[in-house]
Symmetry: C2
Subunit: 209 residues, 2 copies
DNA sequence: CGGAATCCTCTTCGATACTG
DNA sequence: CAGTATCGAAGAGGATTCCG
């Protein structure tokens, strides 16, 4: 176990559990669903095997992660978030919403992992219940996801108000800069506008060091 | 600078900025307002002077913190959050909301820092706009704070629907366990109930290691 | 006195190699 | 596949010293 901050404070306590290096990225991976040790290791380049093992053990002790063996024949070990661990989804989404403002757009040829769009939509629209009747479908590169009545789902939308087609940089500029120049919209442009406004990510930062 | 995760991901990027040990606790302190170096050092026991200096430098580079000199005669240096740094408030509050579930109540004689109540109310009621007309005043130990129309403020409330008097453990049990046994309420008990429900912290965890 | 830079020890990280 | 063992490099923590 890492060293505790030794303060009676919910924030310090939370960081005692998930504040060590790699911990929240392990959680990020498990938010995609149960994963095996080697899946995690593969998706976290730079994380030593011993460090990953230590983090998983710590997270399990703290009730964030549950480790269990799959039923035979595929009798391998998988890790998954507990109900308490699922509670970190909001934390991670808020962190993503904050981080995106100083991240900058992806390079046009940046390799994004499959499923990124659905997670991005989830984080962007986290907590937004003020776009109740808006339905928008996003087609970004090879990914398709949609936002409908406050819920994000993979794949095409049913009778969307609008369809947004773009590439990852265009998607970034749409939500971070409110820039509609790099997206192609068919249908109700205002529906997209409402979604972007509701996301309320805040202005981007000039490049930092 | 610490070592980067080297991933194009808003979460990894955010953690590159504030994921190092002590960084988010520095931010927590600055959320109380501008602070001098020695104030921060005093409030972060266990944090070495070199580590604190390094974190502040990193946070300044990243546009999270702004450092400036107070006008004479008190020509000392103060650190404060930038607009971008203020954006971490939601992250920190979500972390607190998550952490509180496994923290357990404070010891009856636990020394809490002045001003804790107002921060606790802020985190607990973060994002809760579904209690528009509720006004509750809290008197917890030496601290007084109030919640009124979605806004938290220090001191007594103007014509509150209810006044809650208790000690810190009672305050904890009220919001985390929904336990009204350890609080004394004058006025509209349901107003307090609505606030507790809206907080929606989730169930507490059994003691973890 | 406030705000660090330096020095030194100890722990943790990250990479590789190895084992049930 | 799922880790443990090992080891050099980097970072944390504590005390002291230096600077304005």
């Amino acid at each position: 176990m890492g060293r505790s901050y030794q303060q009676y404070c919910p924030i310090a306590h939370a960081l005692d559990i998930v504040g060590e290096r790699w911990s929240l990225l392990v959680v990020r991976e498990l938010m995609r669903g149960p994963q095996r040790y080697s899946d995690l290791h593969e998706r976290l380049p730079g994380c030593g095997t011993n460090v990953l093992a230590a983090r998983l053990k710590r997270l399990e002790e703290a009730g964030v992660v549950h480790r269990h063996r799959l039923p035979p024949p595929a009798a391998s070990m998988v890790y998954e978030l507990t109900e308490y661990g699922e509670g970190l989804r909001r934390v991670v989404h808020e962190l993503a919403r904050w981080g995106i403002r100083s991240l900058g757009p992806p390079a046009p040829d940046e390799a994004l992992h499959p499923g990124w769009l659905i997670e991005a939509l989830g984080a962007i629209t986290e907590l937004q219940s003020d776009t109740p009747d808006t339905r928008v479908e996003f087609r970004v590169g090879a990914e398709v996801g949609s936002f409908s009545a406050g819920v994000v789902s993979q794949g095409a939308a049913d009778e969307p108000d609008a369809i947004v087609s773009t590439d990852p940089p265009g998607f970034y500029h749409l939500f971070v800069n409110g820039d509609f120049e790099q997206v192609e919209i068919t249908g109700d442009r205002d529906a997209v506008g409402r979604l972007v406004s509701a996301a309320a990510l805040g202005p981007p930062l000039a490049l930092h060091v």
